[in-house]
């Protein structure tokens, strides 16, 4: 190594920056609140229809660091909801939300839904109140088979909506 001192400084600087970032207090302490915003899905321009009360929220929970399979699960789920429930989406009966649980204000979802990895969760509402929810854990087992993944998500959505 021609200039070990420079390399020494460079590598130690990288480690120091990493340690400083790790030690950095999370934004819990800043008081900033970041709400999970509903993510609009790119749908074909629908004809104006009367809106309906919200009955189902389809969540996709993730962390800041994303992985290939996680993104695939998110993309598949969003596409399937858009494709099979376009009318309900457009009229507000179903809502899609991608939520980063690493944001301090979203961390409570981990306990609420008992999440242990990136997950798709269906939350059934009645008059704005939760009546039940389901974590779609099998998305991880089925992600290698797009068709099976699709029928699983569609079935689960229909089941929680009461066969509608």
């Amino acid at each position: 190594m021609r200039n070990p001192k420079t390399l020494n400084v460079l590598i130690i600087a990288i480690v120091a920056i990493a340690l400083a970032y790790m030690a950095k207090p999370s934004s819990d302490c800043t008081g900033s609140v970041v709400f999970a915003e509903p993510m609009p899905l790119p749908t074909a321009a629908p004809p104006a229809k009367s809106s309906l009360p919200k009955e189902l929220v389809v969540y996709y929970f993730h962390t800041t660091a994303r992985c290939y399979t996680c993104k695939l699960i998110e993309d598949y789920s969003a596409d399937i909801i858009k494709q099979h429930f376009a009318d309900d989406l457009n009229r507000g009966r179903i809502e899609w939300r991608a939520v980063n649980v690493q944001e301090p204000s979203n961390r409570h979802y981990i306990q609420k839904f008992q999440l242990y990895t990136k997950s798709v969760v269906l939350l059934r509402l009645h008059n704005g109140q939760e009546i039940k929810h389901k974590v779609l854990n099998d998305t991880w087992n089925l992600v290698g088979n797009r068709k099976a993944f699709e029928s699983y998500v569609v079935q689960e959505v229909r089941a929680i909506m009461g066969g509608s």
Binding site: M1, P4, L7, N8, I11, I14, V15, I17, A18, L19, Y21, M22, T63, T64, A65, R66, C67, Y68, T69, C70, V101, Q102, I110, Q111, Q114, L115, Y116, T117, K118, N137, W140
Partner: protein, 232 residues
Amino acid sequence: MDTIWVSAASAVWLGILTSISPCPLATNVVAISYIAKGIEQPRRVLLTGMLYTAGRMLAYVVLAAVLVSSLLSLPDVAYWLQTRMNQIIGPILVLTGILLLDLVPLRLPQWGGRISQRLREKADAWGSGGAVLLGVLFALSFCPVSAAIFFGSLIPLSTQAGSTFTLPLLYGAGTALPVFGFAILVAFGARTLGNVFQKVTSWEIWARRITALVFVAVGIYFIANYTLEILN
């Protein structure tokens, strides 16, 4: 009786599935290079591989025991391991790589001398003991796929089968199996080629340097992805 064997085979298979999924690839590359670097001494490669496997088995058995006994909340543990553990591993890999490389003289003024040589000798004296530590650290650095399999499949399987020791143990062995096998192939392949060219000794020096660079590169990747979050 059959159920026990099915559960045992499932645990090993879940471990293999975890290991061959794309997300632990970076840590697997580090482990393979670490195990395979001792090409001059085949016994050391086998011993390092076995100790790495033992480290993984130990980590999963302890973690399963903690979770099953409900000492800690499963979602909280899963979240912490997937975020903080990956942040901790980055700097550890970079520093270990520097020590293995032995190109950068670390000087600590209060010690008044070059310590990297001493540290490296000490690391060598541990022999393959570091492999156990590496196994524990990598087992605990969960990624989404391994978390889904461990927390979502293995823990329920172990609880259902009433085997919270053996099944996590077998799962740990399964996670190390592909890495161990591949490391043996790499080490013995390199040794055979080295014999042909009568350069085993000099190849070992290069194997060590490559291992060190893999540690530094993967460490920087972990820091960039999990700590600085600039790769997303």
